[in-house]
Symmetry: C2
C-alpha cells in the first residue's frame, strides 16, 4: 500500500525566525496590516510504500528524527494518509 | 479576533524538485527504502488580526497571491483557525 505523509518542520518557538520577520515586513509594505507574526518552515510530502499505516508511521518517524528535522532547533508534525 | 493561517506552498507537480530528489536519495542512504517520491515546499504560519474569518481569509488570499507564492511555479493551500 502507498501512503502519503505531509510533514511540517518549523523552528522552535523560542528561536528567532529572521525569514518570517522579513516576510512580515513585506506583507506590511504591500498594505496587509494586522499581521501579528509570521514563521516559515518546510513542508515535506513523502510518498512511501508500506504494509500498513503503522509501518509507514514508523518509517516517517525515523526519517524525521534522522534526516528531515534538526531536533535541537526544530519541531516536526505530520499526518499520514492512504493514497 | 486573532486567526492563525497555516499555508503550504509547493512547486507545481510538473516542475522538477531537485531538493526533494536529494532528500529521497538521503533517505535511501540511511536505510529507509520504499520511498516513492519526496517534494519539499514551504510551510508558512501567519497570525493575523481580523474582524471575522472571512476578512482573515481575504487578507491571506491576497498575501499568498502577491507575496508568499510564485503562481507561475507554485501552488498554495491554507487552513485558517481562530486562536
Amino acid at each position: 500500500m502507498n501512503f502519503r505523509a505531509a510533514i511540517d518542520v518549523m523552528t522552535k518557538k523560542e528561536i528567532l525566525d529572521p525569514q518570517g520577520k522579513a516576510v512580515k515586513l513585506g506583507l506590511n509594505n504591500i498594505g496587509i496590516d494586522a499581521i501579528k507574526d509570521v514563521r516559515i518552515g518546510r513542508h515535506i510530502v513523502v510518498e512511501i510504500e508500506a504494509d500498513n499505516e503503522t509501518e509507514a508511521q514508523q518509517k516517517i518517524e525515523i526519517a524525521c528524527k534522522k534526516l528531515l528535522a534538526n531536533l535541537i532547533m526544530e519541531d516536526y508534525h505530520y499526518t499520514i494518509s492512504k493514497i
